[in-house]
Every structure is written in structure tokens, then in C-alpha cells.
């Protein structure tokens, strides 16, 4: 296990550098972010040159990559070009605060609904409810998120007028008493959380279902039945615990999604989270910010995969990594 861990971590290093390089190359294709300043006659060329120097744009591209990668690794994330010169770290911190609220809520919501339903569908395979839940899962996986968000907004926001049609809180609520503020937030959170959890709910349902089906077919489950254990004990003690093993690894795989935010959903609902930050950084060619958020997301994905593998080995004693 220890050797496996060390090997995996060592393998992550070239992967991390490769990801940084590819991201850097793609973002460089966008071109010089300072070119748009040159169009403004009121900005002097020497000022532009000074800015280019400040952000390291006067260096050759390979030197710029190493310089940037080094400062990224040492935690010196620099300053955003277009957000009034605010530090990238601060922008990320603010956005992350919002994204985490939404993503953690929808993760919990999706998880506690999807997993029991998936398990139930497997136990009662081909029953009417199994078909209903399967239909629901496919419904969730096939729905374009932003369209689903439109529909919900149209019904609950415009037609019925029960819920706000975007934003994160009613203006002036920051100073309200805690309970009032929470109730206000709940109204804004309901639709985005439903939209965010729909897709993962569908795929986790399917995942839990197939994982349970796999286990139910195993010999030891037949043995448990054959030696006369009650169906309840067979399902909940022998089958379920083994079926949960692959589901637990989902926790690792869901990790990057919690933090990277959802570009589309955040855009529809006007949530100032990581997804919006990423999108705006891309659109404005705000290159220091874009690089940091993209790399953050990539590295969380890599770490999430590692985490999932480790989790798998920890909870399943049959797996021996050498």
C-alpha cells in the first residue's frame, strides 16, 4: 500500500506539469490580453509596456511558463488583470465561498436520495418502481441543465412567483437576524440546488443500482440465502455493505465538482461562484486568473482520482495494492 501510494504520487508530478503545459498553451492561443489597451488612445504605449512587464508578458513563452508555474506552486498567485487589480487568491476565495454552499448542499441532497433509490431499484429489479426510478434517472441525465433551470424559473419564478429568478440574496438581508437571513437564502438556494443535483442524482442512481445488482449475483449472497438467513439480513448485512464500496469511491470523484462549480447553472441563476469566475476569466482573457482557476480544477480532479483509489483500497480488504 505504501509503495503503491508513493508510486501514484510520483506519477502525479508529470501529469500535473503536463496539465499545466496544455492549459498554458491553449490559453496562450487567445493572444495578448494587453492588445485591447493599445486600441485606447488615452493609454500610453509605455504604460502598456510597463503592464506587460509587470505580468511577465515581455518574456519569451517558455520562460513565462516556468516563471508562472513556479509562482503558482509557491502560492504566489498574482493579481488579476481586469478585476481592478485584485489578488487572484482573494477572488477565488470569495467565489469558492458561494460555490461550496451550493455544491455541498446539492451533493448531500443528491447522495441521500440517489443511493437508497438505486439500492432499492436493484433489490426490486424490473418492478414498476424500478422502471419509474430508471426513467427518472435517464430524465436527469438527458436534461440540458440550463434548459431545466429555465423551466423551473419559468414555473416557480415567473408564473407562480414563489421564488426569486436569480441572484443569491435579497438586497439588504446581510444585516438581518440569522433566522430571517436563512429563510431568505433558502428561497434563493432551492432551484439551483435542485438543478445542480439532478444530473448527479441520475448517474448515481444508476451507479448504485448496478453496483448492488453486481453484488446480489455473487456466490456469497447465494450462500447466505442457502444457509437460511432471512432476506433482510442477506440484503442489508451481506449485500449492501459490499455494494457500498464502489459507491464510496464516488466521494473521491465528486470532490473536484464540489469546488469547480457549475459554469452553466451559475450563469443562469446569477451566482457569483467559481463557475462564473472561470467563465469571466476566459471571456475577459484575464490570464493570471484563468490559469489559476483552471489548474485548481485540474489538480482537484487528479487528487480526487487518487483519493477515490485510496478510499477503495481502504474500504475493500480484498484489494491489495503493491
Amino acid at each position: 500500500m505504501k509503495n503503491y501510494l508513493i508510486r501514484r504520487i510520483l506519477q502525479m508530478i508529470p501529469l500535473a506539469i503536463g496539465v499545466a503545459l496544455v492549459t498554458f498553451i491553449i490559453l496562450n492561443m487567445v493572444g495578448d490580453p494587453f492588445a485591447q489597451y493599445a486600441l485606447n488612445p488615452r493609454i500610453k504605449p509605455e504604460d502598456i509596456a510597463r503592464m506587460r512587464h509587470a505580468w511577465g508578458f515581455d518574456l519569451p513563452i517558455h520562460l513565462r511558463f516556468f516563471k508562472w508555474f513556479w509562482s503558482m506552486m509557491t502560492g504566489n498567485w498574482g493579481v488579476s488583470i481586469f478585476s481592478g487589480g485584485r489578488p487572484v487568491g482573494e477572488l477565488v476565495k470569495n467565489a469558492l465561498g458561494w460555490t461550496l454552499k451550493f455544491s455541498v448542499l446539492s451533493f448531500i441532497f443528491a447522495f441521500i436520495i440517489a443511493v437508497p433509490i438505486g439500492i432499492y431499484s436493484a433489490i426490486r429489479q424490473y418492478s414498476l418502481l424500478d422502471y419509474v426510478f430508471t426513467g427518472f434517472a435517464f430524465f436527469g441525465m438527458s436534461m440540458p441543465t440550463f434548459w431545466f433551470a429555465f423551466i423551473l424559473l419559468m414555473i416557480f419564478g415567473v408564473k407562480l412567483g414563489w421564488l426569486p429568478i436569480g441572484g443569491v440574496m435579497t438586497p439588504g438581508m446581510e444585516t438581518a437576524p440569522f433566522l430571517v437571513r436563512m429563510l431568505d437564502q433558502a428561497k434563493y438556494f432551492l432551484l439551483p440546488v435542485v438543478v445542480l443535483s439532478l444530473f448527479s442524482m441520475g448517474s448515481w442512481m444508476r451507479y448504485a443500482r448496478s453496483s448492488m445488482l453486481e453484488v446480489i449475483r455473487q456466490d456469497y449472497v447465494r450462500t447466505a440465502r442457502a444457509k437460511g438467513l432471512s432476506e433482510r439480513i442477506v440484503i442489508y448485512k451481506h449485500a449492501l455493505r459490499n455494494a457500498l464500496i464502489p459507491i464510496i469511491t464516488l466521494l473521491g470523484l465528486a470532490l473536484p465538482g464540489l469546488i469547480s462549480g457549475a459554469m452553466i447553472t451559475e450563469t443562469v441563476f446569477g451566482i457569483p461562484g467559481m463557475g462564473r469566475l472561470t467563465l469571466n476569466a476566459m471571456l475577459n482573457n484575464d490570464y493570471p486568473l484563468a490559469m489559476v482557476v483552471l489548474l485548481l480544477q485540474s489538480y482537484l480532479l487528479i487528487l480526487g482520482n487518487l483519493f477515490a483509489d485510496i478510499l477503495y483500497a481502504v474500504v475493500d480488504p480484498r484489494i491489495k495494492y503493491t
Binding site: 501529469l15 496539465v19 440540458p144 429555465f150 450563469t267 472561470t278 483552471l294 480544477q297 485540474s298
Partner: protein, 303 residues
């Protein structure tokens, strides 16, 4: 001794089914997959043939009357315009049908080109192994670790033009990795087997073994991934279009018809419903069909 007629009849009933007959028979049992297949055929036919039968061209505006320019805009569904009209007074039905051609084309074409790239990478990595495998698969890992949607947006804004091919290209760049991994896995497990060995022994070239002997074995997982991929790519196109980087207007696609839909929410909900339902039904059908095909093609199941 001559074989009697009955015995002959007996023999024909035991005629071995071909692989694809077995697959078809198993797929038929999956009712939702069959319904989806029929639905998809209807949708594709409607998009191909439909534009010839609707009354309005997708870019015709309802009113050219300069004194009363607003007369044809935002008309709710009526007999004249079954799906209503949009902000420029264009017939939504015609645009949904024509946009379907574009969206379906993007879906199929990007799956196809990603497939070619993925099969190529996967086959080379799996067959040759060693340093080629390491390099190609590390590159695949890198591409897998990059957040797709933000970089799709960047690429779509970098590559000039707003045409269909650009979107296909952009989706292809981030769409080939799954296929590459599938193909590599199959090649790794098959290249040392007897039939590959035999082909090598009778002097078949590497290229021939790669493309003629091993490639057909990747068919089953590839078909499933491609079927699911078409639906996924239609959603990608819609998402890109929603963010403003998809197919450029005035050419309609299901995605870019929804681009301005958020403002239509209050006064023209039909502009949201119809293109969205078209996307949803198509993607749903591809997902059901892909699921049915996965079961039908699964070699572990009993024939």
C-alpha cells in the same frame, strides 16, 4: 444414405445465428431502446424532410411591413405558426426542424471524428505498447484531467468563424479520450491471443493486424460509447451556444435558439419549450438506446 426431408428441416432450424442477429434479438427485448430507436428515426426524418414541407423558411420574418414592424414578433402558437414565432417574427417550427439538422449533424460528426482520433490513439498505444503506450496514455490522462467546458469556451472563442465545423472540431478535441482508453484496453488484451499470433505467423503486417484483425473486436464498446456520445455532444453544443460560443445566428441550432431564451421567459415561453423539448427527447432517446445496446452487446450475458 439420403437425408430425409424432416431431418433437413431440423438442420435449418439449428442454423447458427450471426452475432448481429443475436444482438438484434436481445435489443428487441429492451422495449425502451426500441421505442427510442423509432423516436430517433422519426426525429431525424422530420429534420431532414420537414424543412421542405413547412410554410416558412427558417429565416423568413413574418412581417416586412415598415409601418407596423412589430406585428409578427412573439406570436404565440397558432394554426399559422404551430410553434409560434420568435423575437424577429421567424417561424419557430421551421427553425426547430432546421436547427435539428444542425444539432444532429454536430452530434454525429463530432462523435465520428472523435472516434477516429480515439481509435487511432488507442490502437497504437495498445498494440505497440512500451514507450508509445506510455506517451499516448499520459497525454490522454492529461486531457482527461483538464476541465472540459471552460476550455471548450476558450477554443471556441479562439478559432475564428461560427460555423458547424468549428464546433465539431472543438468538441472533437476534448471528446476522443474515452474511445482511446476503450480501444487500448481491448488491444492490450487481444494482441497476444492465438488469432493475432496466427495472423502474425502467416505474415500479416502490423497495420493489417491492427485494422483488420483486432479492430472489429472493439466494435461493441465503441458502438455504446458512440451512441451515448451523440446525445452528450448535442448537449455540449447547446451549452456552448447558451454561453454564446456555439453556432452563430442566423443559422439556427437547438442550442442557439435557447441563447436568448432567458429574456423570453416572461413573454414567450414557447421559445423555451420547443427547442428544449427537442434536445431533451433526442438526448433521452440516445441514452436509452445506448443503454439497451450496452445490455444487448454485453458478452457476459447469456445468448
Amino acid at each position: 444414405m439420403a437425408i430425409s426431408r424432416e431431418a433437413e428441416g431440423e438442420l435449418t432450424t439449428y442454423k447458427a445465428e450471426s452475432y448481429w442477429q443475436i444482438v438484434y434479438r436481445r435489443l428487441k427485448k429492451h422495449k425502451l431502446a426500441i421505442i427510442s430507436l423509432v423516436l430517433l428515426i422519426i426525429i431525424i426524418l422530420a429534420c431532414l424532410v420537414g424543412p421542405f414541407f413547412v410554410k416558412y423558411h427558417y429565416n423568413d420574418m413574418e412581417s416586412f411591413d415598415p409601418d407596423n414592424p412589430l406585428v409578427g414578433e412573439y406570436k404565440p402558437p397558432s394554426r399559422l405558426h404551430p410553434f409560434g414565432t420568435d423575437e424577429l417574427g421567424r417561424d419557430t417550427l421551421s427553425r426547430v426542424l432546421y436547427g435539428g439538422r444542425i444539432s444532429l449533424f454536430v452530434g454525429f460528426a463530432s462523435v465520428f471524428s472523435a472516434l477516429i482520433l480515439g481509435v487511432f490513439v488507442g490502437a497504437l498505444a495498445g498494440y505497440y505498447g512500451g514507450i508509445a503506450d506510455t506517451l499516448l496514455m499520459r497525454f490522454t490522462d492529461i486531457m482527461f484531467s483538464i476541465p472540459v467546458l471552460p476550455l471548450l469556451v476558450v477554443l471556441a472563442s479562439v478559432i475564428p468563424g461560427g460555423g458547424v465545423w468549428k464546433i465539431v472540431l472543438v468538441i472533437t478535441i476534448f471528446g476522443w479520450m474515452t474511445d482511446a482508453r476503450i480501444v487500448r484496453g481491448v488491444y492490450l488484451s487481444l494482441k497476444e491471443q492465438e488469432f493475432a499470433e496466427a495472423a502474425r505467423a502467416i505474415g500479416a503486417s502490423n497495420a493489417r493486424i491492427i485494422w483488420r484483425h483486432l479492430l472489429p473486436n472493439t466494435m461493441a464498446p465503441i458502438i455504446v460509447s458512440a451512441t451515448l456520445g451523440v446525445g452528450g455532444n448535442i448537449i455540449y453544443e447547446a451549452a456552448l451556444s447558451y454561453l454564446g460560443f456555439g453556432i452563430m445566428p442566423p443559422t439556427p441550432s437547438w442550442g442557439n435558439m435557447l441563447q436568448n431564451a432567458q429574456s423570453a421567459m416572461f413573454n414567450a415561453p414557447w421559445l423555451i419549450w420547443f427547442p428544449g423539448i427537442a434536445i431533451f427527447l433526442t438526448v433521452l432517446a440516445f441514452n436509452f438506446l445506448g443503454d439497451g445496446l450496452r445490455d444487448a452487446l454485453d458478452p457476459r450475458l447469456k445468448i
